[in-house]
Amino acid sequence: MEKKDFKILIVDDEFITIEPIWRYLLSVGFPVEYAISGEEALQKTTRSSYALFIIDIQMPGINGMELLDQLDLKSKHAEAILVTGHETLETAKQAVLLGAYCYLCKPVALALMGNQVGKIFELLQLKLEKQQYLHSLEEQVKSRTKQYENEKNRCLQAEESMRRSEERYRRITAGITDYLYSVFIEGGVVVSTRHNPACVSVTGYTEEEFSADPFLWINIVPAEEREEVKKHVGEILAGAVIPSIEHRIIRKDGEIRWVSDTAILNKDTNGKLVSYDGVIKDITDRKRDEERIRAQIDELAHVTRVATMGELTSSLAHEINQPLTAILSNAQAALRFMNAARPDLTEVGGALTDIVSDCRRAGKVVHEIRALMKKEEPRRELLDIRRIFEEVLVLTNSDSIIKNVKIIRDVPGDLPYVYCNRVQMQQVMINLIVNGCEAMKDVAAEEKTLTIRSVTNNSENLVVEIEDRGHGITEEAREKIFEPFFTTRPEGLGMGLSIAKSIVEAHGGKLLVRNNPDKGATFIFSLPVQGVKT
């Protein structure tokens, strides 16, 4: 605060008293006003505020004491100096009680007055500083309080949202029909598990039963699948991120159901597995659908296989006729050698040996035909694709000869094994080979070659290519070629390629076709590799 802000009002009914004080205070730098009555002074305070009042006690009308009372100095943060001509104990006491700073007697010694005013000015300054300090302190407290409240609100909100989320999680897990579980791990060892109520609906066992028996989870797996499930869990505990496993379980009521088990790993900041959560889902319905679809494909495959064999009848007859011709000729030649004047037993022996091998050959053809025509439980096994080629070529040999097609085999000896249904794979290959030969019907004889090629382009897939030198496939036909009942042959059923594609896809593979850059088309099918030839 500066002096110019320290406004002083002198209240006295005698101008003669006012003037020297007024002059003096003005000269030391304070803004000074005066009022000649208590009434005027009150009036002035309504328009302006004063830091110091210098009041004469004896005034007509509102006297000094009354004025002091009415000014209510405290609320104005103002001070007052009382001036009196009659110094009495009573008035002095009263003045102090009313809050006056000091009490001076007339005639007022200006030096004393100045001294007092200076003191009051300093006091006021201190007061203001203190006020400011208090104010800033208060502000600080306020802002801190606000911060605290914000913090508190945030905590409350977080708490609330956590509560809500927990509630939601509880509702979801309680309402969910899938069996959720958590496994907690310390030092690579399972220390506890938790199960949601749906474990009852999936397995028939309660949460308590799972908690009480630490081996229940594996004991509900049928014995023959336990090793695989254990291996799966072992991999999870080793921290491997692996896809879900599908296996069967025996429910408490004895019913066998299919489930899928998917685990999500929780690792700490060091990457160490601390727990994992899993979902066990009942997929029995899906499995049944899959089995039904597979059964339908098997059924359809059988029907089309029989139809294909029907189309191949004349070449199959030829395939048996060849060894029969050889057998007959050898047998009759043997008889002639026996009946000669000097029987040639070497020739007879040779004839008999050849007869045996041709009987075997004819038997093999019959066997392959029967295997293809027979409707049996489709079984998948680990097979060498080369053997399937050989079996198929026994049956298609005559067809390619009739069509005057040369078959080139480009099949390396070290192909990996594939897990497949033998008869269905044969069917796919027969279809592709017969189609390929058919495609070259009106091609020059020296061009008629069908190449069967097999490669493993990576370790995951075995790829078989059947390449013809025909006219290729039109853009229009290419779109429909794998659709049922699409055929370019009047006698064809139009199911061959459609079912071949279904079979390959049911084996987890793909069947596609592309035109060769120069001539003809190539059908390509891939099968997932399951094992390595040993």
Partner: protein
């Protein structure tokens, strides 16, 4: 002891069992047998000079039976009678084969007698052709001994002219024609005029 060379039966069939069994059957009937797995193999191999026939499968990869028949018919040194065998009783093909000169057409499987009879006929035909061809060579050799004048006289005589007409045509005496004719008969080793006309015609002597 003089051992007469056996007749040869060539067998072309892509099926090893069939061609070996047919070879054995041929051997059991006293023939030599040669086997080939394809038309090309047969065309590339050197052949025996003995009387031969061919047992040929109709359907084979590469060149088929009918094409091989056509091919050897156009080759002087490989031309021989053909017996066709087929696993498919296809009638149109058998018609074509027979028209192209096949001796027989048999459907697999067949009886030994059927095949051996067909082979016998084929070899007989082959022998006949060879005999004819041998006699023709002889006639040509004799024709080569004739003088130009004698050849001229032969040509007109074979054409049916009388000695007198020939004399007029050549501007020589009828008596001289008679002398030439006598020498021709002697050189051609024929007993009668009729025989002379026949072999001259067979040998392609034209008027």
């Amino acid at each position: 002891v003089i051992s007469r060379a056996r007749d040869m039966v060539y067998i072309v069939d892509d099926d090893a069992s069939v061609r070996q069994s047919l070879a054995r059957l041929a051997r059991s009937a006293g023939y030599d047998a040669g086997v080939f797995s394809s038309a090309n193999e047969f065309l590339k191999s050197p052949l025996s000079t003995v009387v031969s026939c061919l047992v040929l499968d109709i359907r084979m990869p590469g060149m088929d039976g009918l094409s091989l028949q056509e091919k050897i018919n156009s080759m002087e040194e490989r031309r021989m009678p053909v017996v066709f065998i087929s696993g498919h009783g296809d009638v149109p093909i058998s018609v074509n084969a027979m028209k192209a000169g096949a001796v027989d057409f048999l459907s697999k499987p067949f009886n030994d007698d059927d095949l051996l009879n067909a082979i016998r006929s084929a070899l007989q035909k082959a022998r006949q052709t060879r005999d004819n061809r041998g006699r023709m060579t002889e006639v040509r050799e004799r024709l080569d001994t004739l003088t130009p004048r004698e050849k001229e006289v032969l040509r007109w005589v074979v054409a049916g002219m009388l000695n007198k007409q020939v004399a007029g045509k050549l501007g020589i005496a009828e008596k001289t024609v008679k002398v030439h004719r006598g020498r021709v008969m002697k050189k051609m080793k024929v007993q009668s005029f009729a025989e002379l006309v026949r072999i001259a015609q067979e040998a392609g002597v034209k008027s």
